[in-house]
C-alpha cells in the first residue's frame, strides 16, 4: 500500500485502506465530520459516496462514512455516532450530492442528517416508516404489505403554470422513475425527480452472499455497468486479501471494461440521433453495437460480460484465434465510427437539436459535484483511468477527453472522443497481451477486514466498499453508482428548455435508475 501523498489535507492521521488506488481512512468525531468535509472541499475534492453501517453489535454505535475523491487519492472519513445517537452533521451545504444520499441513509439505516430535506427518498411505502432494512436486528427477508404513499413534490405557483407528471412506467424501453415538470406553455420552469422505484435491497442482499460470490450481485447493481461493478468488488476483495491478479487477467478485465464502455457509447450515440429525429443514426449505431456484442459472444461466451470478472482474475481466457477477430473488429469499428461522426457533424438538423440543448455550465457542474462523463462534458477533467491508473491502465497511458460546452452536443462529442480512445486502448491491450494464467486463487478475508474498489465505468467512477464477516461471509457491502451525483444535474440542465427536448437531454446523460436505487 503506497503512503498517502502530501496533498492529502485531512490525511495526516489517516490509516491506509486496502484498495486498487491510493486510499486512506480517517476516524473522526461529530465535529471532525464537518471539519474534514470543509477541508476536503477547500482542497477541491469531490464527494464520491456516503453510506452507513449498523455496528451496534460491536461498539453500540451507528457509523456514517463518506468517500472523497482527490485527484491522486481517495479518502474515507468515518464517524461513529455516539451510542444512542441517530443524527450527524448535514454535508449537503458543502456537497449538494450528499442530500439524496443522506435521505437514503435515513430510509435504510434510520440515521439522518441534522438538517436539510426531510423527505424520504428510497422508501415509497413498501415498508413501514419505523423499519430500517440495513439494521442488523431487521429481518431483510420479511415482506410488508404496501401502503399508500403520497409524495410531497415541490409545487410551482403562477399564472399559467401547470404540472406534467411522468412515470414511473415510461413510454419507451427504459427503466422506471418519476419526473414532475412544472411548465409554462412548453417551457420547463422546474423538474423534480422521484427515484427509488427499482430499489431491490442490494446492500442488504450482499450479506446473503459469500465473499467469493458477491461479484455476481455487484455485476447486477446496474447491468449496463456490470464489468465496472464486478471489477470494483473484486478489486476490494483482492486488496483485502493482498492477492495480486495475474497481468493477463488485468489486461482482459480492461478489455472487457473498454468494450462495455464502447457498447454503451455506441448505443447512446444511436439513441441520441434517433431522439433528434435521425433514425439513420439508430440503425447504424445499433448495428455496430450488435456486431460488438456478437464478437463478445465469440470471444468470451457471452454478449454481456456480467460474469467475466471474478475474484482473482477473469472467467474466460481469450483464444488466440479470437484475438485476430477482435483486432479486426476494432479496426472496422474505428473506420465506421469516424465515418458516422463525419455524418453527425455535418448534419445541420441534428446539430441544431444538439447545440445549446440541456446546457450545464462548468461552474454549476463543479458546485453540484458532477462526476464522470457528464462532468467531463462540462469541463471537469477527472477520469480515474488517467488520474489514478490501476493495473493495467498504468501502462496504457489513457488520454483524457474533456469538453467545456456542457450541452447535448458536448456529451455527444465526448462519447465519440471516448469511443475512439477506448478503441485505441483495446488495440494496445491486444497488441501486448501478457502471457500466463488468467486467474489466481483468492481466499476469503478475515472478519472485520475492509477494502475498497473504485473503477472508472462508462458513466463515471463506481465504488464498492466491502467489509468481511466471519467464515468468508460479507458483513457489509456498499455499492455506489455515479448516477447519484449526476441525476440532480439533469434538474438544472433542463431549465428553460422545452418539454419535447427532455427525452434528448435525458438520454444525453443516460443515468442509471437501478444503480441509484440500489
Amino acid at each position: 500500500m503506497s503512503p498517502l501523498p502530501p496533498d492529502s489535507l485531512a490525511g495526516s492521521s489517516a490509516q491506509p485502506l486496502p484498495a486498487n488506488v491510493a486510499a486512506g481512512i480517517l476516524s473522526v468525531d461529530r465535529k471532525g465530520w464537518l471539519a474534514a468535509a470543509e477541508s476536503v472541499r477547500e482542497a477541491g475534492a469531490t464527494l464520491l459516496a456516503l453510506w452507513g453501517s449498523d455496528d451496534r453489535d460491536r461498539d453500540g454505535r451507528f457509523h456514517v462514512l463518506a468517500a472523497y475523491l482527490f485527484p491522486s487519492e481517495l479518502l474515507v472519513v468515518e464517524h461513529a455516532l455516539a451510542p444512542g445517537e441517530t443524527t450527524f452533521p448535514d454535508l449537503a451545504p458543502l456537497f449538494p450530492a450528499a442530500g439524496r444520499l443522506q435521505r437514503a441513509l435515513a430510509d435504510l439505516l434510520g440515521i439522518r442528517a441534522d438538517a436539510g430535506d426531510p423527505r424520504r427518498w428510497l422508501r415509497h411505502g413498501s415498508w413501514p416508516e419505523t423499519v430500517f432494512p440495513l439494521r442488523r436486528d431487521v429481518d431483510p427477508a420479511r415482506p410488508y404489505p404496501p401502503a399508500s404513499d403520497p409524495y410531497p413534490f415541490v409545487s410551482v405557483a403562477g399564472d399559467g403554470v401547470h404540472e406534467i407528471a411522468v412515470g414511473p412506467v415510461h413510454a419507451g424501453i427504459i427503466e422506471p422513475g418519476g419526473f414532475r415538470f412544472s411548465v409554462v406553455g412548453e417551457k420547463v420552469l422546474r423538474l423534480e425527480e422521484r427515484l427509488g422505484y427499482t430499489h431491490k435491497g442490494v446492500d442488504r442482499r450482499f450479506e446473503s452472499f459469500s465473499q467469493l460470490e458477491g461479484h455476481r450481485l455487484a455485476a447486477r447493481v446496474s447491468g449496463d455497468t456490470a464489468v465496472a461493478f464486478s471489477w470494483a468488488y473484486c478489486a476490494a476483495l483482492e486488496a483485502m486479501t493482498l492477492r495480486a491478479v495475474p497481468p493477463r487477467a488485468c489486461a482482459l478485465r480492461a478489455l472487457a471494461l473498454e468494450r462495455e464502455r464502447l457498447a454503451n457509447h455506441l448505443g447512446d450515440l444511436g439513441a441520441l440521433g434517433n431522439d433528434a429525429g435521425f433514425a439513420f443514426g439508430l440503425a447504424q449505431f445499433s448495428r455496430l453495437k450488435e456486431d460488438l456484442l456478437r464478437a463478445n459472444d465469440a470471444a468470451f461466451g457471452a454478449r454481456y460480460l456480467l460474469d467475466q470478472v471474478v475474484p482473482g482474475g477473469v472467467a474466460e481466457d481469450l483464444a488466440p484465434e479470437v484475438e485476430a477477430l477482435l483486432a479486426d473488429q476494432h479496426r472496422v469499428l474505428e473506420r465506421d465510427l469516424l465515418e458516422l461522426r463525419g455524418i453527425y457533424d455535418e448534419h445541420a438538423g441534428l446539430q441544431d437539436r444538439f447545440h445549446d440543448a440541456g446546457r450545464l455550465d462548468p461552474g454549476l457542474a463543479r458546485t453540484l459535484g458532477a462526476i464522470g462523463l457528464a462532468g467531463r462534458a462540462s469541463g471537469l477533467p477527472r477520469d480515474l483511468r488517467v488520474d489514478q491508473p490501476w493495473p493495467p491502465y498504468d501502462r496504457l497511458a489513457p488520454r483524457l477527453a474533456v469538453r467545456t460546452e456542457g450541452d447535448v452536443a458536448a456529451r455527444v462529442q465526448l462519447r465519440f472522443d471516448e469511443a475512439v480512445e477506448s478503441l485505441r486502448q483495446c488495440r494496445a491491450l491486444l497488441d501486448d497481451l501478457p502471457p500466463g494464467r488468467v486467474r489466481t486463487e483468492v481466499l476469503a478475508a478475515p472478519a472485520g477486514h475492509r477494502g475498497l474498489g473504485v473503477i472508472e465505468g462508462w458513466r463515471g467512477p463506481v465504488m464498492v466498499a466491502l467489509e468481511a464477516g466471519p467464515e468468508g461471509s460479507i458483513r457489509r457491502c456498499h455499492a455506489h453508482d455515479p448516477s447519484w451525483q449526476n441525476w440532480p444535474l439533469l434538474e438544472f440542465a433542463i431549465l428553460g428548455n422545452i418539454v419535447p427536448d427532455f427525452p434528448l437531454i435525458n438520454k444525453s446523460f443516460n443515468l442509471s435508475y437501478s444503480g441509484q436505487d440500489g
Binding site: 415498508w127 427499482t198 447491468g223 448505443g267 439513420f280 456484442l293 437501478s514
Partner: protein, 175 residues
C-alpha cells in the same frame, strides 16, 4: 445527404430470418401469419421494467436493431399499455414497482399476454425475495411465458414472444 445515402447503400440489408421456436421452422412470413391469425393485425408490445438492473432492457432494445428487425415482422413497441397486446416484463418486481406493474396490467385490454423476461423475471434471480423485492413477475400478475437468461439473448426473447403468441388464449380471457 449523399454520404448518408452512400452509407445506407453500403450497409445493405442486415435483417436475418427469425429463429425456430421449439424445433418448429418459422420464417418471418410464418411469424407474421401467426400474429395475424391470432390478433388479426400487428402485435403491439408494451415493455415494463418492474425493477430490473437494466441488463434485460439492453437486449430488448436489440430486438429493434437491423439484424432482428422486429418491426419488419409487424411487431412493435408501443408507448401505452392501453395500446398493447403483450406485456414484456423485466426485473424482479421491486416492492416499489408492485402497484405500478399491477396498474399497467389492468390498463392493458383483453385479450392480453404477459412474457416475463430474465432470471429475475422468472424467479427473482440474484435479488431473490426480500423487503424490497417480490421475486418473479408471476408473484404479482399472471404470466404466460417465461424467458430465462441473464440477460436472455434477443433470439431467446423472440422465441418467448413467438411462444406466447402461439399459445392458446388463457382461460378467462374473453376472445
Amino acid at each position: 445527404m449523399l454520404d448518408v445515402l452512400l452509407r445506407i447503400y453500403r450497409t445493405g440489408r442486415l435483417s436475418e430470418p427469425f429463429p425456430e421456436p421449439a424445433g418448429v421452422r418459422r420464417e418471418r412470413e410464418d411469424l407474421q401469419a401467426a400474429v395475424r391469425s391470432v390478433l388479426g393485425r400487428a402485435l403491439c408490445i408494451r415493455h415494463v421494467d418492474a425493477g430490473s438492473c437494466n441488463g434485460c432492457e439492453l437486449e430488448v432494445h436489440a430486438l429493434n436493431n437491423p439484424y432482428y428487425n422486429l418491426e419488419g415482422a409487424g411487431i412493435r413497441f408501443v408507448a401505452s399499455p392501453r395500446h398493447a397486446d403483450l406485456l414484456l416484463v423485466t426485473g424482479p418486481v421491486s416492492a416499489n414497482m408492485e402497484e405500478a406493474l399491477r396498474r399497467t396490467y389492468q390498463a392493458t385490454p383483453e385479450p392480453k399476454l404477459v412474457v416475463a423476461v430474465g432470471d429475475c423475471g422468472a424467479c427473482g434471480g440474484v435479488f431473490g425475495e426480500s423487503y424490497a423485492s417480490r421475486g418473479g413477475v408471476s408473484r404479482v400478475i399472471p404470466v404466460d411465458v417465461t424467458v430465462p437468461g441473464c440477460p436472455p439473448t434477443p433470439v431467446a426473447l423472440l422465441q418467448g414472444i413467438l411462444a406466447a403468441v402461439s399459445k392458446p388464449p388463457r382461460s378467462g380471457s374473453p376472445g
